[in-house]
Symmetry: C2
Subunit: 230 residues, 2 copies
């Protein structure tokens, strides 16, 4: 039996099973969540995508929780941290938070994962350290910086998680958006005048980055307002 491999050359099958590594698994899990939502991320499904038995994944992750942690870590690692730069602390803070939000927005269906995992991975710690350092130079105590900094990061992550997930085709996306608008507009104008006035915005149609400017601006403005007198 001379042919011991179905691939054309003697090199081990490449495209078919390009290595099984924690990073590759987490990456495909992330891509799967982007395509079909977090609930589609399944040990068995992932194994199938890698043409491997479900149990094979357990060599690389203790359990599914560890896999989820890995996804969050990968997401945090994708943040393109800006150079320290110059300028006032709040300008640097704004750029830092902007980078954070930009990275999360690329994967809205798993953005919520980082809310409770900010301090349990290296890239998360690096980001938190930078935020705390800026708050330190602003004059906050370590305790204040800890609360304000983690609040800022958690809140922005939650804000991004608010975005609609995959929804496959853009047609269904539009339909859902219209439905949400119509539902809000159908409310009693007597009881909910302000909601109706803002229905279009509340329905979350715009997902351009201008939309997120206000969230970041709010947080940074709050920090400046609470800044101890220097």
């Amino acid at each position: 039996m001379p042919a011991k491999n179905t691939s054309m050359s003697a090199t081990p099958a490449r495209a078919a099973r390009p290595r099984l590594t924690p990073d590759a698994i987490a990456a495909s899990a992330l891509a799967l969540a982007d395509r079909e939502g977090l609930e589609a991320v399944t040990i068995r499904r992932l194994a199938q995508d890698h043409q491997v038995t479900p149990m094979a994944l357990y060599r690389h992750f203790r359990d599914k929780d560890a896999l989820i942690d890995g996804m969050a870590e990968r997401l945090l690692a994708s943040i393109c941290l800006p150079e320290a730069g110059s300028g006032p602390w709040h300008a640097r803070m704004h750029r830092l938070l902007q980078a954070f939000v930009d990275a999360l927005r690329a994967h809205p269906s798993i953005a919520g994962l980082v809310v409770t995992r900010m301090l349990s991975s290296d890239p998360g710690l690096v980001l938190a350290e930078r935020v705390l350092a800026l708050l330190h130079t602003a004059g906050f105590t370590p305790e204040q910086a800890a609360e304000i900094g983690t609040y800022a990061l958690c809140s922005l992550a939650a804000w991004v998680a608010t975005e609609r997930g995959p929804d496959l085709d853009p047609e269904a996306r539009d339909a859902a958006l219209r439905l949400r608008k119509a539902t809000l507009n159908a409310l009693s104008p007597r009881q909910y005048p302000n909601i109706i006035d803002a229905a279009d915005t509340l329905a979350h149609g715009a997902d351009d980055r201008a939309f997120y400017r206000l969230g970041i601006a709010l947080v940074v403005a709050g920090m400046r307002a609470l800044q101890p007198g220097d």
Copy 2:
């Protein structure tokens, strides 16, 4: 066969199966989540608690998602909204957000549910309307009010969700807290000086309400800072 009921009187069994209603199911689901965490909330488990077959619950909820929505709605309904009251808008906003946080803090393991469900139930809409109304009197446009208001609510909910869930006995709770502190303190002081300085606060030991004052204060201060010149 004269005895057609195992209960003593002719009245239908009371304590044994005190009626099966959507509200009762959602309430027990919420209690279960408080005791054992959200992942313990299961159609089958809930049915068992109500001494009923799993399928019986489907008469009252279309599917599990609807049940989860019901839990979120119940949580929002438990908010004890303050009287409109007097004083500047930001003071009233502070009281409103405080009431919101107080209600969520009673059920930290499901607080995260409201992040994406703020506008899909009546009590959520009532709260949002009040927030928008205050922002309207502050001079914000409906669009600004919508973004700022939903951001404030989502971010505070996410912040509460950061708290540890059930953990059963307080001993395990303490152990987990100590472990988190130790882990942070074991980081490189060269790389993470600010994290180490704030390790105790970051580990989330205090869950008194003073802890949440800062989050609310930050949001309200941010709103005031962004308030259009009046």
